[in-house]
Amino acid sequence: MIELVSAARCVTCDKCVAVCPTNVFDRGPDGVPVISRQQDCQTCFQCEANCPTDALFVAPQTHPLPAESFAHDEEHLRRTGLLGSYRRDIGWGRGRTPGAARAVGPALSPSGPPLIS
């Protein structure tokens, strides 16, 4: 579930508010999005993929995590490279190559083509 919005990184572009398929966020009074309906989060990572400043972190668990969880420790997430890792891996953002162009996976059968998605 969505666990972190970094007010320090956020540039209040509203992108995450717009793209979240299940309408989890509201724009806060200072423009920084607020997680208003976390129970509706479907853990799809789309908000993260679309945030231009890597200000969001979606934990893989489909239930909310306690306050002391790693998912709320921005410094830890930055150090470990987890913050913004999805956007990096799919190659979104200035100067990056779309991951789709490099997506040559293994073949699932000896005669089959490589998996590319």
Binding site: V17, A18, V19, C20, P21, T22, N23, D40, Q42, T43, C44, F45, Q46, A49, N50, A59, P60, Q61, T62, H63, L82, S85, Y86, D89, I90, W92, P98, G99, A100, A101, R102, A103, V104, G105, P106, L108, P113, P114, L115, I116, S117
Partner: protein, 523 residues
């Protein structure tokens, strides 16, 4: 204040089926409105999951092999003419993605381009851009809640609620394409919580029929307590018991039921992708970055460390049941109404076997394109006055309760449905006695919804989702009971064998009275 719009074609949904429908209707000269519950570009199963695509070059031998590959698994309910059409259309549409949409397909080790799959976020981001450039008006965060019909029952638009603007909207149109996806019962399978079977409810309310609803018990493997039901790489897995011994017979393609049985016995099932060599491990990361999100964030190395797994219901998303299609343009039995993608039945190309892995994606592109073109033609034939026809709203359950008091909440209804459709011992390992009991409870839930589920504004959307889920579950179990044999994914513990005498499809429908009946398969 209600937002009022007119269009030749209204497309309901925002995934691949909807975007192809909108594009092809617009290319045909129609004015098009596309209304999505979420955000067109990120919403739906494909946008988050990504898909392998049934992309087969037009060489007779490869095509023959492709068509034969799932015929037996699907219980011989697919139709070769439809398979051939879908293979042709998909080949053209994928090439269009490469040449017109500039989707960055990778190049294989031999230098040849690879076009047999699409990364979800990249594919759907580009579809959104194309739809906008085609002049389609996109309404995001605008779930449709009901259809509009003329006096004589022709579909003439839809109404809904814009949840961010918090206002009602109404689109009057010459034709409507339902591309709302399947129904995964809010199981939190990847990208599927927007897929609550709304389109099937809307269709049934105007008298349309469903088909193949017994093929609705797809379950995807995911690490325990997570969402990513990407399953291809479990082909490299060994499954273990808690004590470290190998779980015999467990597997991804065959042997998922062994996993279900073990989980039902309250035992955990563990997994390691220990059959992948170093080269495969590296390549897997490139092919499916979303698959590894979970492991990297849990701090688990899936190749060397065992992790607990679960099975999440994907209902008719990776099942094949949906709204019945009656012609090559994906018309339903109701004039003015078309269905595409997972909202429609995929039996025509998959029979009773899952459409996941390739067929569903091909179907979404093909049926989307066909329905868009056919809807544009239907609207054009009506002429410019189509939007002036007097209309009435067709929605019932959750919108216009028959009782005077509100006696049940959407959340209660959702829990009640989930209790009957998520458990493996009800929906996956099906037995007639269990299905009958579950169906009895679901009928009771429907009565409660019909008389006492009432909501307004944004809550109306939740009420309609809940109603759609109950309706879906009842068509599923009524159809499953109508098939006293095991065929495709519709397996019955009490009828474990295929019965050649039941080589038919099962059509279903109805709301207060649900029905199911055999339908001959075209020769």
């Amino acid at each position: 204040m209600t937002l009022e719009l007119d269009a030749d074609v209204l497309v309901v949904g925002g995934g691949p089926a909807a975007t192809w429908a909108a594009l092809k209707a617009a290319e045909d000269g129609a004015s098009v409105v596309l209304a999505d519950k979420g955000y067109c570009g990120t919403s739906g199963a494909t946008a988050s999951g990504g898909t392998g695509v049934w992309y087969v070059p037009p060489e007779p031998e490869s095509r023959e092999k492709a068509m034969a590959s799932r015929e037996g698994l699907g219980g011989y309910l697919a139709d070769r003419r439809w398979m051939a059409r879908v293979l042709d259309e998909t080949y053209d549409r994928v090439n269009e993605l490469a040449e017109v949409a500039r989707y960055p397909f990778p190049v294989g080790p031999d230098g040849a381009p690879l076009r047999n799959g699409l990364q979800g976020p990249e594919y759907m981001r580009r579809q959104r851009i194309r739809v906008r450039r085609a002049g389609v008006r996109i309404l995001d965060h605008s779930p449709v809640t009901e259809l509009l019909t003329t006096e004589d029952g022709v579909v003439a638009g839809a109404a809904g609620h814009q949840r961010q603007a918090d206002r009602a909207f109404r689109v009057r149109s010459g034709a409507v394409v339902l591309a709302t996806g399947g129904c995964a019962f809010l199981s939190k399978a990847l990208g599927c919580d927007v897929n609550t079977g709304d389109g099937a409810l809307f269709a049934a309310e105007v008298g349309a029929e469903l088909s193949g609803m017994e093929f609705s018990n797809a379950y995807g493997i995911a690490p325990e307590h997570t969402s990513v039901t990407k399953t291809a790489f479990y082909n490299y897995a060994t499954f273990y018991r808690a004590d470290g011994s190998v779980l015999d017979g467990a597997g991804s393609q065959r042997g998922r039921s062994v996993i279900a049985r073990t989980l039902l016995a309250s035992e955990k099932v563990f997994c390691k992708l220990d059959r992948a060599d170093e080269a495969a491990r590296k390549a897997m990361r490139l092919a499916q970055p979303n698959f590894f999100l979970t492991f990297d964030r849990l701090g688990v190395d899936p190749f060397t460390q065992p992790f607990a797994v679960t099975l999440l219901a994907e209902g008719t998303v990776r099942g094949t049941g949906g709204i019945r299609i009656v012609d090559d343009g994906c018309a339903t039995t109701v004039p003015g109404l078309y269905a595409a993608g997972d909202a429609a039945t995929r039996e025509l190309i998959c029979g009773g076997f899952t459409g996941g892995g390739s067929h569903n994606a091909a179907w979404a592109m093909s049926s989307g394109s066909w329905s868009g073109r056919a809807a544009a033609r239907f609207a054009r034939a009506l002429g410019p006055s189509a939007a002036q026809r007097p209309v009435r709203a067709a929605g019932g359950a959750g919108l216009r309760p028959t009782g005077a008091t509100s006696s049940v909440s959407a959340a209660e209804v959702v829990s009640a449905v989930q209790a009957e459709v998520l458990p493996y011992d009800k929906n996956y390992l099906r037995h007639g006695d269990v299905l009958r009991t579950a169906l009895g409870r679901l009928d009771g839930t429907w009565s409660a919804v019909r008389s006492g589920l009432r909501a307004e504004g944004a809550e109306l959307v939740r009420a309609r989702q809940a109603a759609a889920m109950v309706a879906h579950a009842r068509w599923m179990y009524t159809s499953a009971l109508a098939r006293s044999e095991s065929r495709g994914m519709a397996k019955r513990l009490d009828f474990p064998d295929l019965d050649p005498a039941q080589h038919f499809r099962i059509t279903s429908g109805g709301l207060d009275e649900v029905w199911a009946r055999p339908q001959e398969v075209a020769a």
